[in-house]
Symmetry: C2
Subunit: 118 residues, 2 copies
DNA sequence: CCGGATCCTCTGCGATACTG
DNA sequence: CAGTATCGCAGAGGATCCGG
């Protein structure tokens, strides 16, 4: 198996817990969100995991971090890059496949499903 | 986070090691492959993991298992279902995104990359 | 307020040996 | 041949405390 393979690498980070919810959270409504805003929109995520995922996504070029040092405390804003926005299309493809084959289900109540609410 | 969510569930099994290579292995050339055929085409996979993955894929309806009891020893054939074949399209979408944004690279030598050799 | 650092648990994966 | 059983490790993820 080739570790450098595109597909393998992408599949690797997609599968990590919270990655997709975070991407979609940054896609919805406000384009820029602060760390605490993201955090409060997820029940159960720990600061460490959120930090890790944001860092991974930043490293992979899907998320951009901007800091506002003018104020105290420093405010950190996270948003999707162009690359990250384009990834939404991929997520939609996955979703379409899932719905087509009745794999799992989309929550009937959109508000309760942060993933499917595209 | 909604555990039943389509996207989350799919992302969950995509990300598991060997899942995608196995799907693609069953896609290439011979449509039906025996357990040992799959195994020998991957260096490094253990029988336990291969069993687990095949069972997961079967449970998710992407892979179909057929047994030939007429002969001894029993021969087990694995192949993609219609649903599984349709999933190849999703994998291709992921690949396209990756190549478009130069995320990782496709192995220059196709023989060494079981993933990208679509 | 935004995280970093630590500690701990749990499971995914691998190696090896064994069985119907 | 087609798996299962057992063991062990490393890394992911969670809980909690700490610092700029």
């Amino acid at each position: 198996m080739n570790e450098d393979c595109v597909i393998y690498k992408i599949a690797g980070f997609i599968g990590k817990k919270w990655t997709i919810p975070i991407i979609l959270e940054l896609y919805k409504k406000k384009p820029k969100k602060r760390y605490s805003e993201i955090k409060k929109n997820f029940s159960g995520i720990t600061p460490k995991i959120l930090s890790m995922r944001l860092k991974e996504l930043e490293k992979n070029g899907l998320v951009k971090k901007e800091m506002d040092i003018s104020s105290v405390p420093v405010k950190c804003y996270y948003s999707l890059t162009e690359r990250g926005l384009d990834f939404i299309r991929v997520i939609n493809q996955i979703k379409k496949w899932g719905l087509k084959w009745n794999y799992g289900r989309c929550s009937s109540n959109a508000k309760s499903c942060k993933n499917c609410d595209l």
